[in-house]
């Protein structure tokens, strides 16, 4: 600082006189230097080299993305495959035909050469004509443009200056005359050109036709060859267009994306359109020919349902992450949110892709066993979703176990509580049974649906025993004290027969919804709908014959809100069934007795309730003044509220109580930090939490120190692993993602409502609908006695008939040979309409009005009669009063009802190919590949014959309406 003034004065940089130091002197050897030049250069060189290396590294690192590897691999494989195809196509070329054509072409050439002089004359004529046409046409166009202007001038004058319009009109009209002349010239020339072209064609046309024919023979191989060149234009070209930095100019390796304007990545409080980039690596996903390829190139396994352009969920409209979840924009394996299906796959992925779970990803992909959860985004109804067995199982479980009783769940707001009405418990059960039942429902029958509240993992220790028994006793006594025991409508007549009863139960259709004892292993899930109703095992140890008699005779008279339909049993039949059910007992159970009440334990519980809202001392005093009866009532009422019994049962005084469970409106989007994992050593994910909770609802109390009233209260349903998985799937599938209404255009409210009602009434317990159901068939050996398939019901029956049949199925007997009967479901108008619309909607059939008037001719009617006789329809079908002489099991439906029941067009389809509509039907096929086997009638004309069948059936047999001939 010696030369600079400390007060901020500018130091004048004194330029030293050059004489002092020699500028030519090597500067680095001078004393007034801090560094040597060489040293600085060396440092600069090293750091610059480093900089260069790092810059290149940066570019390469940025360029070298994972997806490029896959795209290269895919191209390589595609080239190989195309080459194989090309070789196959080349091998398939008919060489002889090609050679023959070549020879012919040569001959044609020769002929052309012979006429060379004529040909060139025609060609030059054509050229001259074209020239003339051009100039004439030009003149016409110019004139036309002039005319347009003049016409506009005239029009404008008419509007604004009418007095001077007339001369303008004249000008325009004159021009129009010219133009028409021009146009005529043009058209004349056009004709001349056309004629000359035809003339020319007569000389060279054959050669051209032959050439294109020859090209057609080798077209496939040529195209494939071109395709190979497109795929692989050579190493140098490929490398240059995909080189780092240069790859913005028409690269073949690109990030592919599907933009979905109607589907949103659901960020909080806003919706960002999804941009799915999955196809950047999954390159063959949409190509059925690639179904055998390795991941990530393989085609989607179900192109008929997903991704395919013709499927209900085409890729362009639905993308990938809508169902699979994951980060839509990601193009790197782990960041995209891939989730392994199992530990084995996880190990393989870690090895192969360096897989890790991105904890910042809100929606990682769903593993394959839970992928069906995504269906819930659109398929919001309560019914079954086609092709989603696990999802449907979960919905079955929620419906039958009534999760919505304690938890608010979307879609179940209107569904009634699943448990029996307890306001009349005294007339049905006795307290001792109820206590034992509450203590362990599954000891009574393994298929009990009542969950276990006591003796679970958090209150099962010996120190809880007296307390549990006191609680059970208090609740039971409380319920019975509140019961209004209306007398049963009727007493059971004597003489019910166990054997007859059993036969009835097994034949009239009870087994569509009920099973007796455990259902054997059912991996294909063909019998699970028989769990819809309560299992009938051990009934005799539970209720009286009187009660059962009244129940099966007319369920609604006992409980107006029941789902049980009326089987229309006679009194005697009802008595038989009651007798059979009473005979099903559980002796082991009956031998057990429930322990006596421990009053001290009861006091403890009572005190807990008294303490709320008052001090401990007040509570003690109040307790001391209470009788045992009062204690039981106080405690019972408190316990009903604490455990939320009213969620499933109607209990007097609790009709409007609010459900006690956690709300489950969007459990799949619930934030992870809102879950209490306690001290449980499981992975901290939503799925794991739900799975642990469902397997043992009290599990999160493990290692926690709590007072009894603070313990977790959710009861144990005894779900097995599969059931846990199914429920967890539903829970994780209920997410906040919104789907715009357009996405559901093909999934109408009619279909959703119908599917819901079908599930609610368990129609599929007996019938197959949309390809699923008919569970009762496993109990009926004789195929002829199976309930009808309803797969094409909408196309088959008339809506009006279906409507009335559904409401009153007892009115007419369609299939008198069946012992199983369509029960009366007491469907109201609205419900019958829902089903009618549903069946019509899934078959795309018109609803509700259809035209059954048939246009026919007398000839057709006669032919129909003949056909009917030749085909011997009445061998199996009753028709009006004609009854075939056969076993009931071998009969077919009554044709007398056809005219009012069936849709005419369906009848034709049915007769043409019954197996196509109902595979396995015993209806014979009269047409093989659409060819009539009765050539004698109507000259064997298939459509004519089908119409004749129809006409006979509807007009002659069914007395249907004949349309006006015209």
């Amino acid at each position: 600082m010696s030369s600079e003034t400390p007060n901020g004065g500018t130091p004048k940089p004194a330029i030293p006189p050059p004489a002092k130091k020699d500028p030519a002197l090597n500067i680095s050897q001078r004393g007034d230097r801090l560094y040597t030049d060489n040293g600085l250069h060396k440092w600069f060189a090293i750091s610059s080299l480093l900089l260069f290396v790092f810059t290149v590294w940066m570019i390469v690192d940025d360029y070298n993305r994972e997806w490029r590897r896959y795209q290269r691999g895919f191209t390589r494989l595609s080239v190989l495959q195309t080459e194989l195809d090309r070789q196959a196509a080349a091998g398939a070329i008919d060489v002889a035909a090609v050679n023959a054509l070549s020879a012919e072409i040569e001959a044609a050439r020769v002929r052309i050469a012979e006429n060379a002089a004529t040909l060139s004359e025609v060609e030059s004529r054509l050229e001259a004509l074209n020239d003339e046409f051009y100039s004439t046409n030009q003149a016409y166009l110019f004139a036309r443009a002039e005319y347009d202007v003049e016409r506009y001038d005239y029009e404008e004058a008419v509007a604004n200056d009418p007095e001077n319009a007339e001369p303008l009109r004249v000008i325009a009209e004159n021009r129009l005359a010219d133009i028409n002349q021009n146009l005529e010239d043009v058209e004349r020339l056009q004709i001349a050109i056309e004629e000359t072209t035809t003339e020319l064609d007569s000389y060279i046309g054959e050669r051209d036709r032959l050439s294109s024919e020859r090209d057609g023979l080798v077209a496939e191989a040529t195209q494939l060859e071109a395709a190979i060149v497109t795929l692989d234009p050579g190493l140098i070209r490929t490398s240059i267009r995909n080189a780092p930095i240069l790859d913005f100019m028409n690269p073949s390796e690109t990030v592919n994306q599907i933009q979905l304007q109607n589907l949103h990545y659901d960020a909080p409080f806003l919706q960002v359109p999804r941009v799915d980039r999955c196809t950047t690596c999954h390159l063959g996903i949409n190509d059925a020919a690639k179904d055998e390829w390795q991941q990530p190139f393989t085609a989607h396994p179900r192109l008929d349902v997903f991704v395919g352009a013709d499927s209900p969920h085409p890729m362009d409209g639905f993308g990938c992450t809508t169902c699979h979840a994951g980060l839509d924009r990601a193009v790197e394996f782990s960041r995209a949110g891939h989730v392994p299906d199992n530990a084995e796959q996880q190990a393989a992925w870690e090895d192969q892709y360096g897989w890790y779970l991105d904890h910042f990803l809100e929606t990682p992909m769903l593993p394959m066993d839970r992928i069906e959860a995504s269906c819930l985004k659109c398929h919001t109804g309560a019914g079954d979703v086609p092709e989603a067995p696990a999802l449907n199982m979960g919905r079955d479980l929620i419906r039958t176990y009534g999760c919505f009783g304690c938890h608010n769940m979307p879609g179940y707001e209107e569904v009634r509580r699943v448990g029996p009405d307890l306001t009349t418990i005294g007339g049905k059960l006795d307290p001792e049974w109820v206590k034992k039942w509450l203590a362990d429902p599954r000891a009574f029958k393994s298929e009990a649906r009542m969950p276990k509240f006591w003796f679970n993992s958090n209150n099962g220790g010996p120190e809880f025993e007296a307390r549990n028994n006191a609680e059970i006793t208090a609740i039971t006594e409380y319920l019975f004290s509140r019961s209004q025991d209306d007398p049963l409508p009727a007493a059971a007549p004597a003489g019910g027969d166990v054997g007859r009863g059993q036969a009835l139960v097994e034949s009239v259709g009870c087994l569509g919804c009920h099973a007796v004892g455990p259902i054997p292993d059912d991996p294909a899930r063909t019998q699970h709908r028989r769990r819809f109703g309560y299992n009938l095992a051990s009934q005799g140890s539970k209720t009286s014959a009187d009660w059962l008699y009244n129940w099966v005779r007319d369920p609604r008279a006992v409980w107006h809100d029941t789902n049980m339909p009326d089987m229309r049993l006679t009194d005697a039949e009802a008595a038989d069934v009651a007798a059979y059910l009473v005979s099903l007992t559980n002796p082991e159970w009956e031998a057990e007795a429930f322990p006596e009440l421990d009053e001290a334990a009861l006091d403890e519980v009572t005190l807990e309730f008294l303490r709320t809202g008052s001090t401990g001392i007040q509570a003690q005093e109040a307790l001391a003044e209470m009788t045992l009866e009062e204690k039981i009532m106080t405690t019972g009422e408190g316990l009903v509220a604490r455990y939320g019994c009213f969620g499933c049962h109607v209990i007097e005084g609790f009709e409007t109580a609010q459900p006690i469970g956690t709300e489950l409106t969007q459990p799949g989007s619930k934030l992870l930090n809102q879950f209490d994992f306690g001290f449980l050593d499981i992975e901290h994910t939503r799925t794991e939490w739900y799975a642990a909770k469902m397997a043992d609802p009290r599990i999160f109390d493990v290692d926690r120190v709590k007072r009894p009233e603070e313990l977790l209260r959710m009861p144990d349903f005894g779900f097995d692993e599969e059931q846990v998985g199914a429920i967890v799937m539903i829970l994780t599938g209920l997410v906040k993602d919104q789907v715009t209404p357009d996405m559901r255009n093909d999934l109408t409210a009619d279909i959703e409502a119908g599917r819901g009602l079908v599930a609610q009434r368990n129609c599929r317990g007996c019938h197959e609908i949309e390809g699923a159901g008919g569970d009762i068939r496993s109990t009926i050996a004789d195929q002829g006695l199976w309930p009808p398939l309803l797969n094409t019901q909408g196309a088959k029956t008339q809506p009006m008939w279906l409507h009335s049949f559904l409401q009153e199925p007892g009115e007419e007997t369609l299939r008198p040979w069946l012992s199983a009967r369509m029960p009366t479901f007491y469907l109201d108008q609205a419900e019958a309409t829902v089903l009618g619309k549903y069946f019509s909607a899934i078959d795309n059939a018109p609803y509700p009005f259809i035209d059954t008037a048939i246009a026919t001719t007398d000839e057709s009617l006669t032919a129909g009669r003949e056909l009917f006789e030749l085909a011997q329809c009445n061998l199996c079908h009753p028709a009006g009063d004609q009854m075939p002489d056969r076993d009931a099991a071998d009969l077919a439906p009554d044709l007398g009802l056809a005219a009012e029941r069936l849709r005419p067009e369906w009848v034709e389809d049915w007769i043409l190919d019954p197996q196509a509509i109902a595979p396995g039907t015993r209806m014979p096929a009269f047409y093989i590949d659409g060819v009539s086997q009765l050539p004698g009638i109507l000259d064997g004309d298939t459509p004519g014959q089908l119409e004749a069948f129809r006409d006979h059936l509807f007009l002659t047999i069914g007395n249907g309406e004949r349309a006006e001939d015209n």
């Binding site: 010696s2 600085l40 750091s47 900089l51 940066m58 990803l361």
Partner: protein, 359 residues
């Protein structure tokens, strides 16, 4: 191994860590000619590095240290001690030279001026290139963090301010937001800007020295290293869910509970000392607090002016002296409040939540 980890976990508790660091700072300054030497550096910094490297084997340590946004603080763990050591070493050397009557290191060359081109310009260019290399390498190896998209409904646990503000967030444990978040930051800025005007010591201008300005340097080091950098490091590495303290080798358990019950001074005075209820009138209730605070800012300046700060008072004149003491008292209030909290669970000296006025 586990025992060592447990010991370290215990030692890094805020009260112990801050106390230990303060002691280390003062002891090392006292014995600076022993501590700030090349030998110590050659042992200390490799040791720190080995310590970090070994600690990386601990899962919890690894998790918190490798969080992308924490990487700068890991860098700071080395940079700040290194530069502290470097400046103190230079200072110690200079002081020794002064004692021996030799010229300062800087002075030795002062007369010798060099041309800016190329000596300075060229070295600057090299520095730029090397820094770019560092930055590019850092960027290639560590991707910038990107978590879930913002969600006002889901508060992450813990929620932390950007790392350079974590000192303030740590201060919020001890002071109300209006103090820790507004007044103190304001005072830090004002105080920093006031330094040249308060520090009238003409010595030590333009060279490293400790002896000639030990008071200024110790105050600054205490403020910068302990009350800022250490709190940033503490806030980054040792504060977990619910702003609970977690040792470097401790799992961040969301459910960890700490007893954080604390009481106001008014409570101590009226309830515990006088055995009566707290008065209803706010001013009466908090009168003790007001007296303490007023006393804190009024009494020490006068006392100090007569005793140990006599020299300052004489040199600076009343205006500068009082500003300096006020700023010092504000700075000292943080460690004082910390100690009071640790020892007596004292929450507020003045607690008027009715008017958001808590000290």
């Amino acid at each position: 191994m586990e025992t060592i980890k447990d010991i370290i976990n215990t030692l890094t508790a805020p009260e112990i860590l801050i106390t230990l660091a303060a002691i280390l700072l003062f002891v090392s300054a006292r014995y600076r000619h022993l501590f700030y030497t090349n030998k110590v550096a050659l042992i200390l910094f490799p040791a720190m590095f080995v310590f970090m490297a070994i600690s990386m084997f601990d899962e919890d340590f690894y998790l918190i240290v490798t969080k992308p946004d924490n990487v700068p603080i890991v860098g700071m763990l080395f940079l700040i001690p290194f530069f502290t050591w470097l400046s103190m070493r230079e200072a110690v050397r200079n002081d020794k030279r002064t004692e021996e009557g030799a010229p300062l290191i800087e002075k030795e060359e002062t007369a010798d001026k060099v041309l800016t081109w190329p000596d300075l310009v060229y070295t600057e260019l090299i520095a730029i290139v090397l820094l770019t290399v560092l930055l590019v390498g850092w960027s290639i190896l560590i991707p910038a963090p990107l978590e879930e998209s913002a969600n006002p409904a889901a508060t992450p646990n813990p929620s932390k301010a950007p790392w350079y503000f974590l000192g303030l967030q740590e201060m919020l444990v001890y002071f109300d937001p209006w103090l820790a978040g507004v007044v103190f930051p304001g005072l830090i800025i004002v105080g920093l800007m006031a330094i040249p005007y308060i520090d009238t010591n003409p010595k030590g201008n333009g060279y490293y020295t400790f002896k000639e300005r030990s008071w200024e340097i110790m105050t600054f080091l205490f403020g910068f290293l302990i009350l800022w950098v250490l709190l940033v490091i503490l806030g980054t590495f040792l504060r977990g869910p619910n702003w609970n303290f977690f040792g470097p080798y401790e799992y961040w358990d969301t459910h960890k509970l700490e007893a954080l019950v604390n009481v106001d001074l008014s409570d101590y005075f009226w309830v515990r000392l006088l055995g009566m209820g707290r008065p209803d009138n706010i001013l009466v209730r908090e009168s003790v607090g007001f007296l303490v605070v007023l006393g804190y800012f009024l009494v020490p300046p006068m006392l100090l002016a007569k005793t140990i700060f006599k020299r300052f008072y004489e040199n600076l004149g009343p205006a500068r002296y009082h500003i300096m003491v006020f700023l010092l008292l504000c700075m000292a209030s943080l460690p004082i409040k910390m100690v009071l909290r640790w020892l007596f669970n004292l929450k507020y000296i003045i607690g008027i939540p009715e008017y958001f006025f808590n000290i």
